[in-house]
């Protein structure tokens, strides 16, 4: 009895002493919050530095976050890096993709997220994947915040900076977005993201994409000749090609769903091909689609009959001048009827010249022959293939040529001075 009471007394004394020590020790840990609250009240003018940085010849303004605020996040409980999958990536992508948060920005695109069409539908793996576009966006954000040395990752500091974005001015948000897109173009990483997370390095949309393949064109819905209707997969090659080209020149994702709606609205009947005037009409419609945001404009295309096409000239225009073309082909190597495809690039491989063809019907196994065709090495996109000029000219019916450099993305500053960007 005596022993037990002694033990209890000693144990209580030790525990009390331990608690006192821990309290004394942890009291000093609260110091950071105290100093931060005092520093938040410091009202001093900015007289050191100028809040600007340079990209090429263009001067941009920083988004100002106080250093003591940044250093609050020095020890993050988590960090997710490019190439990894994580719920934090999903949260960030959904946050950036949401029109509620950023109705006038495209920080994250459709192909980076692949949102379900209806509530309750399962979401895709790509939404959890930290792709290279997201890494480039974060690098750009860090640059604007004066953190150019930070490696792109999703951690507490990055989440805080992203939370600061909505309260930045629209001009600042557009500056960040424009520099991000400009960087993608300069690094050759622009374009869509494949379902497996790999970059397409161009804007690629398939008429066979399950997201819209089954969607029908309105003007065939009551056509007795087509009791099952006509879907984008059936006849949407022209719309998919228009999507690829317009997305490239405006640097935003314009899906075949949108260009098909235009075909319906303008009654451009898609039979086994659209009338070529469809492309001129839709180009006019989207001429200044992103002029306010990016300063881009899309000029109307030139429509060339087969006789007017010189493949050597075309190779130079597409390979060296950055033009894009939509080729209208008849029955042959690529189709048994008629088909539209995009000529996205031209390069020499093993001493032989090839056009990079973006075929919106993603099923290369249907090509009758592999003669004069070459697989795109390193690409998992089944809609991309190299084809010789001779083969393309043989099957060519006409060409819709866009005489603009697809790599010419304008870079200029919209803000007049640095902005305070932190959540006070």
């Amino acid at each position: 009895m005596q022993k037990r009471s002694n033990f209890k007394w000693l144990l209580r004394a030790a525990l009390c002493l331990a608690v006192c020590l821990i309290c004394a020790f942890s009291a000093s840990a609260k110091g950071t919050a105290q100093t931060d609250s005092l520093l938040a009240k410091v009202q001093l003018p900015k007289v050191l530095g100028d809040g600007k940085f340079q990209i090429g010849d263009v001067e941009f303004n920083h988004l100002l976050i106080p250093r003591y605020v940044i250093e609050q996040y020095d020890d993050s409980d988590y960090a997710v890096y490019p190439g990894e999958t994580d719920d934090h990536v999903t949260e960030v992508k959904r946050y950036l993709f949401s029109n509620d948060n950023f109705p006038k920005n495209e920080y994250v695109t459709y192909t980076q997220v692949r949102p379900p069409k209806a509530d309750g539908e399962s979401r895709e793996w790509i939404e959890t994947y930290f792709d290279e576009h997201l890494a480039t966006l974060l690098r750009t954000l860090y640059l604007f915040c004066g953190l150019e040395d930070k490696e792109p990752c999703i951690d507490e500091l990055t989440r805080y900076l992203l939370d600061c974005l909505p309260q930045a001015s629209l001009e600042m948000r557009w500056d960040i977005e424009a520099v991000y897109k400009y960087t993608l173009v300069k690094e050759g990483n622009w374009g869509t993201v494949g379902r497996d997370g790999t970059l397409d390095h161009l804007y690629y949309f398939a008429q066979t994409d399950p997201d819209w393949a089954r969607e029908q064109f309105d003007f065939y819905k009551n056509d007795p000749d087509f009791p099952n209707g006509v879907t984008i997969q059936d006849r949407g090659c022209g719309c998919a090609c228009a999507s690829m080209v317009f997305s490239a020149y405006h640097m935003v994702e314009i899906t075949p769903r949108i260009t098909a709606n235009y075909a319906d609205a303008g009654s451009w009947h898609v039979s086994y091909g659209l009338p070529n005037e469809y492309f001129q009409g839709i180009a006019r419609y989207y001429y200044s689609f992103e002029k306010e945001r990016y300063g881009t404009e899309l000029l109307g295309p030139k429509i060339l009959s087969k006789d007017e096409v010189n493949m050597e000239t075309l190779a130079d225009q597409i390979g060296n001048k950055g033009y894009l073309a939509i080729i209208h082909v008849k029955s042959g190597a690529f189709t048994s009827q008629e088909h539209y495809m995009v000529l996205a690039d031209y390069r020499e491989i093993d001493g032989k010249g090839y056009f990079l063809v973006a075929d919106p019907y993603m099923q290369s196994s249907r090509y009758g022959s592999r003669d004069q065709l070459l697989a795109v090495e390193g690409s998992t996109n089944d809609g991309l293939i190299y084809a010789t000029a001779d083969l393309l000219y043989r099957d060519c019916k006409s060409l819709i040529l866009f005489e603009q450099d697809r790599n010419d993305f304008p870079l200029y500053c919209r803000t007049s001075k640095p902005e305070s960007g932190w959540l006070n």
Binding site: Q2, K3, N6, F7, L10, L11, A13, A14, L17, A18, L21, I22, F25, S28, G31, T32, Q34, T35, L38, L39, K41, V42, Q43, L44, P45, K46, V47, L48, G49, D50, G51, K52, F53, H62, L64, P66, R67, Y68, E71, G146, P418
Partner: protein, 240 residues
Amino acid sequence: MAKQKMTVRRFLKRNALYLFAVVAILLLIGVVVFGVLLVRELRKPVQQPETVQQTQQVEQETPQTPEETELPAPEPEIQSPGWQADGSFVAPFDGTTTFLVGQSLALTYDPEALKLTENGGVYTLLSTGGGSTPRMDMQQMLSSLDRLSDEELDRLAAGVLQAYYYVAPKTEDIVLSAVERTENTYYAHLDAPAYENAPAMEADFRLIQAGGQLWYAMVLLPEGADTAAFQQAFDNLMFR
């Protein structure tokens, strides 16, 4: 059995195991606390001063009025600068004195060289010749010196300097030296590296507890600039 008298020796013998357990726990806690404090000390970028900075006292002399008298004129009384017994204030040098904190904090400066402005509670000395630096700024902080640890004071010094920057250097890159703390004051000299279009910068920082309020004063000392008047005003801040 007769109850044995509990001696110290018997107590120790009976409870040896429990005592051992308690001592072991206390030792473990002590080791952990010591280890953390040691790591903190090693990470501290503060360079401790070798000598204590002395505040210079300037004696103010009253001018003699030239008069013809038969008897020699009496020696002028030399008064120490600061608040006098009769409540008057003797400035540390010939200049303009502004009082803050209800006469508890005195800022004296040379009006030929510097001009004083106030904006939103921040008192600023700038050169009469123009320019945003060198400069001295003073502002109240809503705290008191005795509530702040040495580490927090160092952090405040760096943080106030960082507040001048559009994009500030990291705290770990700002070197504090000649740090001195008394019951009512804190002083540090700061060296910041060149960073993001801003040149390297030196600064002096002081916290003063006066009249129940805590005030900071920071003077920016850009290299090559004439900072004598600013340094004079900063060094001669007086309080009671």
